[in-house]
Amino acid sequence: MVQKLPYLKETPSQTAGPYVHIGCLPNFCGIEGVFAADLGSVMVGERTKGERITLTGRVIDGTGTPLKDAMIEIWQADADGLYNSPSELRGTADPAFTGWGRRAVDQDTGVYSFDTIKPGRVPAPDGSLQAPHINVWIVARGINIGLNTRIYFPEEEAANAADPVLARIEHKNRIPTLIARREGATLIHDIRLQGEGETVFFDI
């Protein structure tokens, strides 16, 4: 016999379903007057430091159809590479930037869009630097457990080539699925759930 370990099991995930907006973005779906604003809908203000960017794209299913009911959350460092979080012990992040955004894809076109800033570099556990990246979490009807991925910047070729997370990807021909296309201040990035060009998703 042996002592029983004291750990609990994580609560299992269930799909967010098609009506995730009611709970997470009620104003977006017409439920007004309960919460003043939808959380995470505005990331950047006048005082936010850093280079303004717009991140946009679609989430596409295995038949090539954009999802119309997905919700996306992003989490990123500030312009100096600091996270606005109590677990960030290296310094104090820009108080004018929470680093967290939440949007629904458009219910007609499937397009998502975040107005944010380009993040600075953050360290990896071995002390090397990660390339600038945005952490992404996607939920929707038909997605049983939220999908984690990242978005990297195309102009950061050298940093991307040295990034320790991208280096974990065995099939190097899949790395481009994590690198956005850039047109001026706009980063365009489609996320493919399945099939040709399937985006790399992470078990973090």
């Binding site: 099991k9 606005n84 109590p86 967290w100 038909g142 049983n144």
Partner: protein, 246 residues
């Protein structure tokens, strides 16, 4: 909140056999929306260990009362009045304080206030269906609502969702992010539900089934259900050689 120093350890690996798989053909919507290639794993970095925080100051007085937060003055939502309460913990059994919980649900007739829901059950003019709260110093939470109704949905020719409340949960790190659903003790539709059955282990479905809690009822007012939620635990950093700041 807490006077303890924030934790910076990596999270325990997720038990993906306990969670539903991505591809679960009994739930048809998952078929074209499930990645087919393997997830890529890597050790948590500061990007996964950190996460946003939400202050109690953002909450309004009715945010955790769905019977009133959409109702006209002097009125309230129709349905069986219930309290849902419990504790947010991590896998080590520690309470998770200061965490945002958001919930949404159908009304007592099984109808959502959403333009995509065309079920013939009527909307309740006094029920919006959303609420939120932030966990207390020990991870505890509570809200008041009405028991949602079951409803039919287009999956198989005759599939019905058991009564359920959706939960969105933030922990302290982005890698703890979780959305799930709470079911009600004794509902015969749980075992028949293609979404509940995306989970393989009956014990894991039981973990999503709230227990009737007569001790927490408010006599002559509302019956109570208890629903504890567990997020991923964190490793101790005590014996780890880590570069400063990681």
């Amino acid at each position: 909140m807490t006077n303890e120093a924030p934790e910076t350890g990596a999270f325990f690996a997720r038990d993906r056999e306990w969670h539903p798989q991505a591809y679960t053909p009994g739930y048809k919507s998952s078929v074209a929306r499930s990645p087919r290639l393997a997830l890529v794993s890597f050790g948590n970095t500061i990007s996964e260990i950190t996460g946003p925080v939400f202050g109690h100051s953002m909450l309004g007085p009715l945010d955790n009362d769905l019977t009133l937060n959409y109702a006209r003055p002097g009125e309230s939502a129709i349905g069986e009045r219930i309290i849902v309460h419990g504790r947010l913990m991590d896998e080590r059994g520690r309470g998770v304080p200061g965490a945002l919980l958001e919930f949404w649900q159908a009304n007592a007739g099984g109808r959502y206030r959403h333009k995509k829901d065309g079920y013939l059950a009527p909307l309740d003019p006094n029920f919006g269906g959303c609420g939120r709260t932030i966990t207390g110093p020990d991870g505890s939470y509570a809200f008041r609502t009405i028991r949602p109704g079951p409803y039919p949905w287009p999956n198989g020719p005759n599939d019905w969702r058991p009564a359920h409340i959706h939960f969105s949960v933030f922990g302290h790190g982005f890698a703890q992010r979780l959305i799930t659903q709470m079911y009600f003790e004794g509902d015969p539709l749980i075992a028949r539900c293609p979404i509940a059955r995306t989970i393989n282990d009956p014990a894991a479905i039981s973990q999503l089934t709230a227990a009737l809690d007569m001790n927490a009822t408010i006599p002559m007012d509302a019956i109570a259900y208890r629903f504890d939620i567990v997020l991923r635990g964190r490793r101790s950093t005590l014996f780890e050689n880590r570069i400063e700041g990681n």
